[in-house]
């Protein structure tokens, strides 16, 4: 419960950076923080008290494994979303560098003003 709330605070910090800050790289960092928070929230939802990782080893009994393993489904979704987050981060960094080259600044308001 408090874990969920702390996680939500993390998401809100990212949202704050995305909305208020004017530096483009700060906005990118805000998006990255929000991504961390969402990934962690999905994994927290799948955790089981005194659970073990959903990986079977040879000395393990299958019946007890089924009743102690944590939820593998959110892990599978998060695993792909982390790598896709890296792809979108590369896209955003490319955009930021491109904007800097064109306008000579990272300031969002300044860029809006220069664009006219």
């Amino acid at each position: 419960m408090t874990l969920y709330f702390l996680n939500f605070v993390l998401l809100i910090i990212g949202l704050y950076a995305l909305v208020v800050k004017r530096h483009i790289v700060k906005k990118i960092l805000g998006v990255a923080i929000m991504e961390y928070a969402v990934n962690l929230f999905l994994i927290l939802l799948g955790f089981r008290k005194s659970g073990i990782a959903p990986i079977l080893t040879e000395d393990m009994d299958l019946a007890t494994f089924i009743h102690t393993a944590v939820d593998p489904l959110p892990q599978a979704l998060v695993l792909t979303s982390i790598v896709i987050g890296l792809g979108t981060l590369a896209l955003m960094v490319a955009m930021a560098i491109r904007l800097y080259e064109r306008y000579g600044t990272f300031d969002m308001d300044e860029i809006n003003r220069l664009r006219g």
């Binding site: 419960m1 408090t2 874990l3 969920y4 702390l6 939500f8 993390l10 809100i12 910090i13 949202l15 208020v20 004017r22 530096h23 790289v25 990118i28 960092l29 805000g30 990255a32 923080i33 961390y36 990934n39 962690l40 994994i43 799948g46 955790f47 089981r48 008290k49 659970g51 073990i52 990782a53 959903p54 079977l56 080893t57 494994f65 089924i66 393993a69 944590v70 939820d71 593998p72 489904l73 892990q75 599978a76 695993l79 792909t80 979303s81 982390i82 790598v83 896709i84 890296l86 792809g87 979108t88 981060l89 590369a90 896209l91 960094v93 490319a94 930021a96 491109r98 080259e101 300031d107």
Partner: protein, 187 residues
């Protein structure tokens, strides 16, 4: 030590790191402190019983740090000073953040409590995974067999984002560096 207490500690550390990232003036320090947040996140994944994701998070964090340092180093890496009018912006944003947090506290009451997940779908995967797929890593069997079509779609999302980054960078290449990709010569 109790896992839940440790997770609280790690989350508080992550919140402090994220706050420093948002508020610090030097951009290079901001990037480095977001690296600290990412590595702590990987530790949290390890305590939550997800070694797959912990490995992925560590490796991806290194690469994203390299990309972000590429973006900030060599250019003027000082954060932009706030103007006078943006104080009002800040205050309104903070008020709305407070309202959202209060509502979130009530919304989280209706979720399943921590430590008792809903396993309706996952029970099927755990029961039948070894017989139907034969992989002992159940995360892999969910990714690549039960939900293989999802993974295919996500690989395509990666393809789209990467080709978007390439499209943004390519116009520059046509101007000056025509030798990088031969795609440019065809035009």
């Amino acid at each position: 030590m109790d896992v839940v207490f440790l997770l609280h500690l790690l989350l508080v550390f992550m919140i402090i790191g994220a706050f420093i990232t948002v508020e610090i003036k030097n951009m290079l320090s901001a990037v480095i402190s977001i690296g600290a947040v990412g590595f702590t996140l990987s530790m949290a994944f390890l305590f939550l019983g997800a070694p797959d994701i912990a490995i992925t998070q560590v490796i991806v964090e290194i690469l994203s740090l390299i990309l972000l340092i590429r973006a900030t180093v060599n250019v003027d890496n000082v954060a932009i000073e706030e103007k006078g009018e943006s104080v009002f912006h800040n205050r309104t944003a903070l008020i709305f953040v407070g309202i959202i947090l209060v509502f979130a506290w009530f919304a989280f009451q209706s979720l399943a409590p921590f430590g008792e997940p809903l396993m309706r779908v996952s029970d099927y995967y755990l029961n039948n995974g070894l017989i139907m797929v034969g992989a002992t890593n159940f995360v892999t069997s969910v990714i690549l067999d039960f939900r293989a079509y999802d993974t295919f779609g996500e690989a395509m999302v990666l393809f789209v984002s990467i080709s978007g980054a390439f499209a943004i960078l390519r116009r520059w290449k046509r101007e000056q560096h025509k030798d990088f990709l031969r795609i440019d010569r065809e035009h």
